[in-house]
């Protein structure tokens, strides 16, 4: 039996009329319909060969959306109940899900700011420390391991071209890959790589 409170369930219990997932579903559809409309309008400016297919798909999407909206409206008028959306999963904390998204966004922001070689290992160890309560003596080799993974496997073997970060652009003479690679070169020399 779980003891964690489900934030979204508490919210819905307190404000039962506040959020209608059917309306949200329709709004998602509206957003998609806007994308189709934009695509249709944009395709009008294209050469015939390039624009025909986007126009066809856009019109198809708009037509289907109209039918979908009509079906929602008819069901609502009849009062038969509109099929709502995903079952509320009691086991999933909505706040935890949002937190995962926010942390992911922070990770991506970090890669833009300080580069992948630092942001990704930092993210791993900070998350493990904060949420998995991993000990520092495990975090240190984990950090080094991820730096090595990124530098050696991705940067060297896979020859990944790293986007330049703000840190590298403003404060460093050389990219992080070229700065860190000499630290791991002796290891590669031992293995003859």
């Amino acid at each position: 039996m779980h003891t964690r409170e489900n934030w979204s369930l508490r919210y819905r219990a307190r404000y039962p009329r506040a959020l209608n997932w059917t309306v949200v579903s329709a709004l998602v559809g509206l957003l998609i319909a806007c994308a189709f409309m934009y695509a249709y309008v944009d395709a009008q400016t294209l050469r015939r060969d390039a624009g025909v297919f986007p126009q066809f798909v856009s019109l198809l999407g708009l037509g289907l959306f109209s039918i979908y909206l009509s079906s929602l409206f008819i069901k609502w008028c009849r009062g038969t109940g509109v099929s709502t959306v995903a079952e509320e999963d009691d086991d999933v904390d909505g706040l935890g899900v949002l937190r995962a998204y926010a942390i992911t966004a922070s990770l991506f922001l970090g890669t833009w700011l300080v580069g992948f070689h630092l942001a990704v290992p930092l993210f791993v160890v900070l998350y493990l420390r904060r949420y998995a309560k991993v000990r520092y003596r495990t975090l240190a080799p984990t950090f080094i391991g991820f730096v090595a993974l990124i530098t050696i496997v991705y940067g060297n073997f896979m020859a990944t071209r790293w986007p330049q970060s703000v840190l590298e652009d403003r404060f460093m003479a050389r990219p992080l890959q070229r700065t860190l690679m000499p630290l791991f070169q002796p290891l590669l020399d031992v293995w003859g790589l």
Partner: protein
């Protein structure tokens, strides 16, 4: 010709790089199957390396990741009452009661043996279907292939979870997203929103990772506990041993016709695009229950309730490769990602593959056979050890998996904007999950759109609009509509067995259909 291609494939198979890649992938798939939410994560991670791997390494590794998931996903279902993937919902009905009676080892071993035999049926289907498909495809031109592509998206959209209309809209949206950048015919830019980044189009990796991987990982974090803690595991003793392995083999042999029937149904339906694994799971469970003489114990711990869906699942997975390889029409999420993966590696699935790359197709078939057998055998030997993986907590899994996926997202274009695309589609994917919009038709539309547009252009240039009057086109359209109606009825039947909730094509690994509706 076929024998020559087969012997070439055998020669390729017995090279160290193929065997090692297959072994690595299979181990990854074994682990992924035991951990709900991570079944496809291995494939997502592999996508990041796809640009640099040789096809002879990448494809066996990918097959190795995919195939064993349908074997070890029975572990959380039986021991913990938590489905390892969408294809083990029905296994819980009898697997978990058996586990509570101390029969977990027997139940799991029976599932593994059924998976092995079911997988063999699937491989046989694949072997028999390829020459047949090749003969038919040789008769087809661009009009027929155009119509098949459109019907493929349409069928997947119609039978998707949520509802048919939203499935079709999602398919159209996926096609639209694929058109961003430039057209494949004359290369003029379109829908690029005035940005330089979008001139190259939206990459399949950030799109796929965002739409599927991020919402799944976020939901995993939202659960906050290990699968072992999530499942009502109290009191379930699990000890595996040789006696249970042989007992299970005897059980499967005693029920050999049930295994064969279920595998045949799985293979037959798996060949058709659009039908999700959970549909086949419930369908074969329901068919088993309605065809045996003494169904009273179904739902209370009848071993046949495990054997039937387990053999069907593995047969389905193999059979689903037929439309994926022959027509480039993926049958579901797993095949859609595999299709995209093959494209990244430089192999174009579809009709040309049957004519130019027949030996590669046979290599894939051999890899499926070996991965299925190896996975089943390993699971039989190491069941307890694999079961311990369910104790891993999401807080431990999330950071390394997310790190690898972040690194994978930028492999194609090496641009930070890829991460923006990853996040944007991740948010869209999360909202779609929550609001019941199916995602699988979207990715299938994305993958098929360039192919369909090319066929469309070729068709209109050569035939104009009169292509719609070609007899083959008309026949294909009739067959397509008939297939769609049949699949919708099959899905409805499966839902009736399941009591209303199946994820028709949404291969959601986290539990009962995340897109099931209620009033």
């Amino acid at each position: 010709m076929y024998m020559q291609a087969f012997s070439e494939a055998l020669g390729l198979l017995f090279t160290w790089q193929v065997l090692i890649s297959l072994a690595i992938g299979t181990v990854g798939g074994l682990v992924g199957g035991a951990l709900p939410g991570t079944g496809l994560a291995g494939l997502f991670v592999l996508i990041g390396f796809a640009y640099t791997l040789d096809p002879l390494v990448a494809i066996p590794m990918a097959i190795g990741f995919i195939v064993p998931v349908a074997t070890t996903d029975a572990i959380p279902a039986v021991i913990l009452g938590v489905p390892g993937s969408a294809s083990t919902q029905a296994v819980i009905m009898d697997g978990y009661p058996l586990a509570r009676r101390g029969e977990a080892a027997w139940a799991l071993a029976s599932a593994y043996w059924s998976s092995i035999f079911g997988g063999m049926v699937g491989v046989l289907t694949l072997l028999l279907a390829i020459p047949f498909a090749r003969s038919i495809i040789n008769l087809m031109g661009s009009p027929e292939l155009l119509v098949i592509g459109l019907l493929g998206i349409g069928i997947v959209g119609l039978v998707s979870s949520g509802d048919s209309l939203r499935g079709l809209i999602a398919g159209a949206l996926g096609m639209l997203v694929a058109m961003v950048g430039s057209d494949p015919i004359i290369g003029s830019t379109r829908l690029e929103l005035g940005t330089i980044y979008l001139l190259g189009g939206i990459g399949i990796i950030p799109f796929t990772l965002g739409l599927f991987a991020l919402p799944e990982l976020a939901t995993l974090v939202g659960r906050g506990r290990s699968i072992a803690e999530t499942g009502a595991a109290a009191g379930v003793e699990f000890r595996s041993g040789r006696s249970e392995v042989f007992r299970a083999l005897r059980t499967v042999i005693e029920n050999r016709w049930l295994v064969a029937r279920s595998a045949a149904v799985g293979a037959l339906i798996g060949v058709m695009p659009g039908v999700g694994l959970s549909v086949i799971d419930w369908l074969t469970y329901g068919l088993a229950k309605s065809t045996v003489k003494d169904p009273e114990m179904f739902g209370k711990g009848d071993i046949r309730g495990i054997i039937a869906p387990s053999s069907a699942d593995n047969a389905t997975l193999s059979a689903a490769l037929v439309p994926t390889l022959a027509l480039a029409i993926p049958g579901g999420l797993t095949m859609a990602i595999f299709l995209g993966f093959m494209t990244i590696v430089g192999i174009q699935p579809g009709p040309t593959m049957l004519t130019d790359n027949l030996s590669l197709i046979y290599l894939i078939i051999l890899c499926v056979f070996i991965a299925n057998t190896f996975a089943g055998g390993t699971a039989l030997l190491l069941s307890s050890q694999i079961a311990n993986l369910t104790r891993l907590r999401p807080a431990t899994l999330f950071p390394p998996v997310m790190a690898i996926l972040t690194l994978a997202a930028i492999q194609a274009s090496s641009s930070s904007y890829d991460l923006l695309v990853f996040l944007a589609f991740g948010i869209l994917g999360g909202v779609m999950v929550k609001t019941g919009w199916p995602r699988v038709p979207m990715i299938i539309g994305f993958v098929l759109a360039p192919i369909i547009e090319r066929y469309y252009w070729l068709t209109v240039q050569a035939y104009g609009w009169s292509f719609m009057r070609r007899p083959a086109v008309i026949i294909i359209v009739i067959i397509g509509f008939g297939t769609a109606i049949l699949l919708m009825r099959v899905t409805a039947k499966a839902k009736s067995f399941a009591g209303g909730s199946t994820g028709a094509t949404e291969d959601s690994p986290l539990g009962p259909s995340e897109n099931s509706n209620r009033e």
